[in-house]
Every structure is written in C-alpha cells, then in structure tokens.
Symmetry: C2
C-alpha cells in the first residue's frame, strides 16, 4: 500500500480515523457502481461485500460520518454517495499538476480515471526542453520555470511527482515553496516536507517486495539460509545462520 505520512495521532473532536478515511473511497466506488445500476438502497452487509470488508467495520466507518442509515432497511445509495463525497472533499474541484513527463507521467497524463472524481489535470511539467512543448492528451507540457506561476494561477493544490528519484526532493521543495500542500510521490525516495504538507507515496518496488516476502513463506522454505557475507565479526563469531528447519 502506498502509505504516506498523512498520519497524525488522529484528529481531535470531529476526527475520522485515518484507517476509515482510507476506506471511504472504496465504499464510494462500490456505491457509485450501485448507483449506476439504479439500486436505491443497500445494506451494510451487501456494501461491505462489494468493498471487500467486514460489515461491522463498514458500519462503524459510516457512523463516523453521521447516522445515515435506516434500521431494518439499509443505506440510501445516492444520499450516501453524496455524504462520502462531501466528507472526502470531492464536491469541489482539485486541480492536479504532474511533474516529470516520462514513461509514467505520460501514462498518468493519458489516464482518464482522474477526472472522474473531481481531480483535474491542470498542468504537465518537465525540466527537459526536449519534452516541454509536446502535447499529451491535448495538453502542452510546460517547463518547470513556469511552475510557480501555474500553481498560483490555476490554484493547484495537489502535485504528483513522477521524476527520477534523485530529482524528487528538489522538485518537492519547489512544489512546497510554490504553495502546494499535498503531494503524491511515485519516485522511490523518502521526501521530507515541512509540517502541514501531506505526502503519500506509491511505490511499486515496495509492493513487490512485500509480495515476495509472503511468497517465500508460502513456498515453505524459510528465508533461504545460504552463504552469509561474514558478519561484522568481532573477535569470535557464530559462523552460520539460525538454520530453522520446519520439519
């Protein structure tokens, strides 16, 4: 999962738990599908199944938003779509800027799924003059020189970083300086940002490594005990590894 530093001990007063916030989009998606099929109401059991979660969890999550269900009946689909959208801030428009129009930036720029939920690609930016000026998905790639102006004029508040890792921190700093307070980072680096700026990351490599970990477990063999690169080795050492044998 791409988990970023959006975490806080959990907000005060009216705060919705972070774990819940992360699931709301899931519910919203399931509800949208129901809505399109013209389904008027849905029970927590059905909705939970569609979202792939436990129904008690779903009910608790929804209860943070308010008491929007009807006992004996379920939830009104349209009404709940609206409430969740509102809570997530999707009733307003969020202009997004994509920085680094290479392989990945290209794919994102061409991606239609963005617009669907109030996220609008407002600008594509790159530092390479061989790239700037190109038109992608009907939009000209602008040069990084124009960053500050673009952010200001288009009220961009979300930046997506798809530059190579070594450039990411620098780009991030510029985005922050330009006034952006939410960043989605695809570069495999830890970004450091001042208080008040949220960073979330999407890291393919980490996801694969987590899968590999479990895959290895499944294949029975414990973490391959093999020739170990000599321990830091003080004086004396135990040479080899644990040597766990699972029967």
């Amino acid at each position: 999962m791409a988990t970023g530093r959006t975490e806080r001990p959990t907000q005060r007063g009216r705060g919705i738990p972070e774990a819940t916030v992360a699931r709301l989009p899931l519910y919203l998606r399931a509800l949208s599908a129901l809505s399109e099929r013209g389904v008027p109401t849905v029970s927590s059991e059905e909705l939970a199944a569609a979202a792939g979660v436990n129904s008690a969890k779903l009910r608790k999550d929804l209860s943070y938003l308010g008491s929007y269900g009807t006992r004996g009946v379920g939830y009104d689909v349209e009404y709940l779509v609206y409430q969740i959208s509102r809570e997530l801030g999707l009733t307003q428009d969020w202009p997004v800027a994509i920085i680094g129009i290479g392989n990945l930036g290209h794919a994102l720029a061409n991606y239609g799924g963005f617009a669907s939920r109030g996220f609008r690609v407002a600008a594509l930016l790159d530092a390479d003059r061989a790239v700037t000026g190109q038109r992608i998905a009907g939009m000209a790639v602008r040069h990084m020189d124009d960053l500050e102006q673009i952010v200001r004029e288009d009220h961009v508040s979300i930046g997506v970083i798809t530059t190579p890792a070594p450039a990411a921190q620098e780009v991030c700093d510029r985005l922050v300086a330009a006034g952006i307070t939410s960043i989605l980072n695809f570069a495999p680096t830890v970004l450091s940002v001042p208080e008040g700026v949220d960073v979330r990351k999407v890291d393919l490599s980490i996801e694969l490594q987590i899968l590999a970990f479990h895959e290895q477990r499944k294949s029975g063999l414990d973490p391959v005990a093999g020739p170990v690169p000599g321990r830091p080795s003080k004086p004396g050492e135990r040479g080899d590894l644990p040597e766990v044998m699972p029967a």
Copy 2:
C-alpha cells in the same frame, strides 16, 4: 498507501509483524544507498532518519530479524542489507508477468527499477491482437492464450494486472487458475481470490481522495456543510442533488 489483503492475524512463532514487513524495503533502500557510498556502519538513529521513521521503531523492526547490531557502534551496512534481503526473499529471482499492455502496462514494461531487486519481467501479455506481437523493451507481447504455458514454463509467481477494471477479476481468476499466488493490482476493483493468494493494490484514485480529504481539512472549512440532498426520506422521494456552495 496501497494496502492489500496480505494481512493475517500475524503469523505464529517466528512471525514478523505485517507493519514491519512493509517497512523493511524502505530500510533496504536506505541501506543500499549507504552501501554505495561505502559507508561501513550506521546507527539506528541515522538509518531511521534516512528511512523517515522513528529510531525505536526501526530497532524494534530489526530486532524481529535477529540481533544484528553492535551496541555502541550500530549496524554493519552490508550485513544488514543481506539479512533484510534474505528475509524478504530477494536472494532469489522472482519472474513477474504483466497483464494488459496499455498506457500503464507499457510504462511498467519500460521501467528499469524492476530488475534491481530480483524482480524480472518474464512476460508481457494482452488480449488484444493489435497489441500482441509488438516489442516493448526488447520483449514481445504475448497473447493471453499463452498465459498458462508461460506461467508454467517460466515459473512466474507474481502477476501484475494493468487491464481495465472490468476485465480485472476475470484476468485474476485466470492467473490464479494458472498457479499464480501473488498479484499486484492496478485496476480500481476489489479482487476476490481464494485463500492462499495474496493481492496488493495500487490505487491512484484512492490516494488522491485521501489527499483531498486532508487538503479540505487544511483549508479550514469543515466538509462543506450546505444544502443537503434530501435525506433518504421514508416513503418515496429524496430531493435534489448537492448544490454545495463553498462560499
């Protein structure tokens, strides 16, 4: 964060907490950078800073792997790189198949960062005959007809789904039937899989929605309270839609 269904109550005995597993790749990346710079040892404080976590957490995480540090000194970089790699299963090769070579599949296929950690793109697959046969990154796109054979012959154990959402479950089922037990899903759908198969998802749209939620909070205004679409309302009816006015 893309969080998938890799969760389990936590393994028995020798089990490493899921949260820890998710951070190991982060430590590994930081350590690799240190290793390249020729740094021989690192303290938990330094490594934690590089990975963007609390040092106590880092030490506890590492302690699950074993007692690999030296008090008063820190951790031997090379040794720790090896231990984490081994634990994650990166000392072996993981052939990966990418299914759905469109915008995103293309970008992934061209991406070099894969190979770096033992993940090898073994096959590119698509259902569209206009796509199959094309060469991408020196590799021919194969047709879905060959899926089972490819999985068998190349020992593919990890599948990456980059098809449109409506096709994802069907593709997933075929992957599972072919023997794949780890799936990374980029399509915005909940996949259902049998016990024993791990699915992790990467969902851009969810990440943006989480950012929007926090962004909205930061902009002061609570979730725009405005004229609400008439509550579900018993009998029939429900008024009209949102009509939010953000002042």
